[in-house]
Symmetry: C2
Subunit: 105 residues, 2 copies
Amino acid sequence: MSKSETSNDLSFDFDFLDKLVVGIGEVSQITGIPPRQIRYWEEKGIIKSLTEEEGKNRRYNYENIKRMLLIKELLDEGYTLDASAEKVKKRMEMIEETLNKLKNK
Amino acid sequence: MSKSETSNDLSFDFDFLDKLVVGIGEVSQITGIPPRQIRYWEEKGIIKSLTEEEGKNRRYNYENIKRMLLIKELLDEGYTLDASAEKVKKRMEMIEETLNKLKNK
DNA sequence: TCAATAATTGTAAATAATTTACAATTGCAA
DNA sequence: TTGCAATTGTAAATTATTTACAATTATTGA
């Protein structure tokens, strides 16, 4: 069975995560990070919205959300924003690797 | 390690799916179903938004989205909307069972 | 302590996206 | 061709988000 077909096993969920794109309000609900703070992080270049056009609503994917959650954790641990962002970059690579392994299985 | 802690294994993704809530625009992007059609299905009672207050924007969870995708498939196969919804109900129970097994592992 | 910088927060005005309601259209089977 | 299911169109009102400018709070080194 192809990865893109619907099924009740787990292969579908990875396709789902690939397609998943949400707005700032949803990200805020999911992560507990206020929209204002998300915009600030983006302004600083810590995260990037998928939206290309100016003035349109921001869109984030799973990787973005994951990144924000990790940064939030590190901030709580006492790291600065820049240090957190740096650490997360490395951590993201590990996660990405894990997901890719599972996706191509 | 607790299920709610962040990690680079998969247990996190289930927590993520639990928290995932998206608006109608995002659902439309993810599923390919036009917002107008999603509202129509809701009007008919086929799906239900999480929003309690009238006039506020609709919110959907993972189960809702999965349901819509399954209905869309069955419609393409030639089933009526009501028949699709009925079939999906049973299919959802199987999926729910599978997810619960994995969540509590 | 004081100044400087980092991080966050507040908010008004403009714009984007969604809602409801009423209506029209399309497809199909009896 | 009639009837019903399913979908689609759209205007006006409302909700949510954006940008821009500014203020506030926290931390750190002199």
